[in-house]
């Protein structure tokens, strides 16, 4: 049995994380509208896609003038992470039944996986996953709407401010991967830099948005992935 204090601490972590992630929701809503989506499309992404990095990638490619295939492709590339998370979650969550699995899948993201994996036992892994998933889902969607409506119909200077916020938001998403607390931060830095350089070199020559996907493919093909 799990004692109440540990359970409370797991719940606190989950809800605290959910509230913090909600702030990213504002940035996403604003970025989506800046990229040319309407507020309802921004909200549909948060409700239906519900995986922040893929959502940011999709609107990032659209904002750069990219086509439909490049936008969908970049979202799916980042979405592959969640497949690996799901594999790690199966033994922790012990999801039984097709319907329950289909529902659980929607909340398989960076944060809920981190909460479940960090929990001291299986029962708390479920608590962390469910409480975190519910809080983040609620916060992320409400704050997406706030950001989208707030960014709709802004003037020139405010638009320039938002244009400047989008790359900064991507940098904030990337930042933890480059720090010492992450496994192999030096390699992460090289990969990020290579992605940036390849994308910039390709920009004048390929349709908008394609350079982003091409950069990822080039870096993956160039890497020596066996240790």
């Amino acid at each position: 049995m799990t004692d109440d204090a540990t359970r409370a601490s797991t719940l606190r972590d989950a809800v605290g994380l959910g509230a913090a992630v909600g702030l990213y929701g504002v940035a996403f809503g604003a970025a989506a509208v800046t990229a040319g989506l309407d507020p309802w499309q921004a909200c549909a992404l948060s409700l239906l896609m519900f995986t922040g990095a893929s959502q940011f990638a999709l609107v990032g490619v659209l904002g750069a003038g990219g086509g439909a295939l490049a936008a969908v492709g970049s979202a799916l590339l980042l979405g592959t992470r969640n497949t690996v998370y799901g594999v790690r979650l199966v033994p922790l969550l012990q999801v039984r039944g097709g319907l329950r699995r289909a529902a659980t899948a929607h909340w398989v993201i960076d944060e809920t996986t981190a909460l479940a994996v960090a929990a001291p036992d299986r029962q708390l892994a479920k608590v962390g996953f469910t409480a975190g998933g519910a809080t983040i889902y609620l916060g992320w969607n409400v704050m997406t709407l706030v950001g989208a409506l707030g960014a709709d119909g802004l003037g020139g200077t405010a638009q320039a401010a938002l244009d400047a916020v989008v790359p900064a938001a991507f940098l904030a998403l990337l930042w933890p991967r480059l720090q010492k607390t992450w496994a192999e931060p030096a390699a992460q830095r090289r990969v990020a830099l290579a992605g940036a350089v390849v994308a910039l070199v390709l920009t004048p020559f390929v349709p908008a948005g394609v350079q982003v996907i091409a950069a990822v493919v080039a870096v993956v093909l160039a890497g020596r992935w066996r240790r």
């Binding site: 992404l45 896609m49 999709l58 439909a68 799916l76 690996v84 979650l89 899948a105």
Partner: protein
């Protein structure tokens, strides 16, 4: 891009991302849990985010453009290095972008 195409992009990409999540809970672990696969998946976000940062900060269509966005990115990097919270990073970047636009 027309509203219809945009909606199609939103819905198709959402469905695809959901199926990727569902696959992780459904396929046998050994299909995915290969060290090489895990490693590649761990590095894809860095490559993609690096590319997106560069494209969003210094390009406009097919051209390289240096404007307030690059200054804002530098300010954001400084704020992140000083461990500023996410919302502070974004506000500082936004203010920098607006200031450069106002001054130029």
């Amino acid at each position: 891009m027309s509203a219809g195409t945009l909606w199609a992009v939103v819905l198709v990409a959402s469905l695809g991302c959901y199926l990727l999540k569902l696959a992780g809970l459904s396929v046998p672990a050994r299909w995915v849990d290969h060290p090489t696969v895990r490693r590649v998946v761990d590095f894809v976000p860095a490559a993609l985010l690096g590319a997106l940062i560069a494209v969003q900060a210094v390009t406009s269509g097919a051209h390289l453009v240096v404007d307030g966005r690059l200054a804002a990115l530098a300010v954001a990097a400084l704020a992140l290095a000083l461990r500023a919270p996410f919302v502070v990073v974004l506000v500082l970047a936004g203010l920098t972008g607006a200031a450069v636009r106002w001054l130029s």
